[in-house]
Symmetry: C2
Subunit: 189 residues, 2 copies
DNA sequence: GATTTTAATGAACACATGTTCAATATCTTA
DNA sequence: TAAGATATTGAACATGTGTTCATTAAAATC
């Protein structure tokens, strides 16, 4: 099972394309493995050689999107020049840009019939960034577990995103930024 | 489709019992509708008369557990007498007791192959209680949307619960209470 | 208790799932 | 380029899904 065997690359590509095609027609829950294989012209047995469920295929896409989340944290703060930098840690603020950019995907991630896996992928991503920030920028009270605190903060952000998603991302990114900034300011005074 | 027709009551009861029996043997994801019906001695067609998926059946259970969450908020603060009441709003603190009490169920709710539905049921429950509290006890800054703020706070709590779940609920309820109290205290100074 | 209403059943259907296995096609590497 | 390695295929199989429909059984109502 060598990952860069041309046959494997070709097969996976075909399956990826097939999934994308089908996703433009109907939601993930209504897409069957058999259907993906028919479109991809790949034997159904071959699918099971690489994935267990159609969710695993979607997961590979989501992996790439998570890469974008990580990368957007590494690059300089280009995206936030319009924002008052004193209001909030610009790192935090980048999340909403990222969500907005891939909202087509996040509509799937947050739909209620989809497995929790994707939620956890997002949670783990934000959680890791949060933890990194908390350990370097702030000095912690030792009564608070860094794990619990960062889980709290990370999921709080996702709470905003859920609310945002439920209005089909109608509010602007800057509205979300302002809301978060205002919420964080409550604690400070 | 009269809900208190004895035949319907009997059928649903049989399906509920069958699901409980099977859940003690294996995870929800490995249980099939056909299996539930075999154990319940109910025709498979009858299942589809009442539910769409096995998840709908589980949802009925979870509904009852959500009732417990609501009820525990209405009754007087019996459960928190040992806690220093000055530290934190006792309302908030009840959540962890509730989770602990039904941790068998929450192990399912938070498992990664289960649909997001149950997560949202929990989220909506806490969110509603949070919103009620925020509107009555605090006077809000009008720059902050109460919807966003309560979604933020509600999901933050669930963040702690996720972290707790991932250690298989090894920490005690009082540890969780203390962590939350400490986190909330950060904002206040 | 007889009549009416309706839930439950069993059978059948097309299709999806998940797995196996020998045969084949395609890639790697020597 | 030939030889060996291995991914893919097609066929088959048992089982699950979701739906339909006439028949039967068990409730509700009178």
């Amino acid at each position: 099972m060598c990952a860069n065997d041309l046959r494997i690359v070709k097969t996976k590509q075909a399956l990826h394309n097939a999934l994308l095609t089908l996703l433009s027609e109907k939601p993930l829950e209504n897409i069957t493995i058999a259907e993906i294989c028919r479109v991809a012209k790949v034997n159904r047995g071959t699918f099971y050689l690489h994935y267990e469920q159609k969710e695993g295929l979607f997961e590979e896409y989501f992996q790439e999107i998570m890469e974008d989340l990580y990368n957007s944290y590494e690059e300089p703060y280009r995206a936030v020049t319009t924002l008052d930098k004193n209001q909030l840690d610009p790192n935090t603020i980048r999340i909403f840009h990222h969500i907005e950019r891939f909202k087509m995907f996040y509509r799937i991630v947050f739909s209620k019939n989809v497995p929790l896996t994707y939620y956890y992928m997002l949670f783990d991503g934000i959680h890791a960034l949060m933890k990194r920030d908390l350990t370097t920028h702030y000095n912690m009270h030792d009564e608070i577990s860094i794990e619990y605190y960062s889980a709290y903060q990370a999921n709080a952000i996702i709470g905003l995103i859920i609310q945002w998603y439920r209005q089909d991302f109608e509010d602007s990114v800057s509205t979300l930024n302002k809301q978060l900034a205002a919420i964080l300011r409550i604690g400070e005074k």
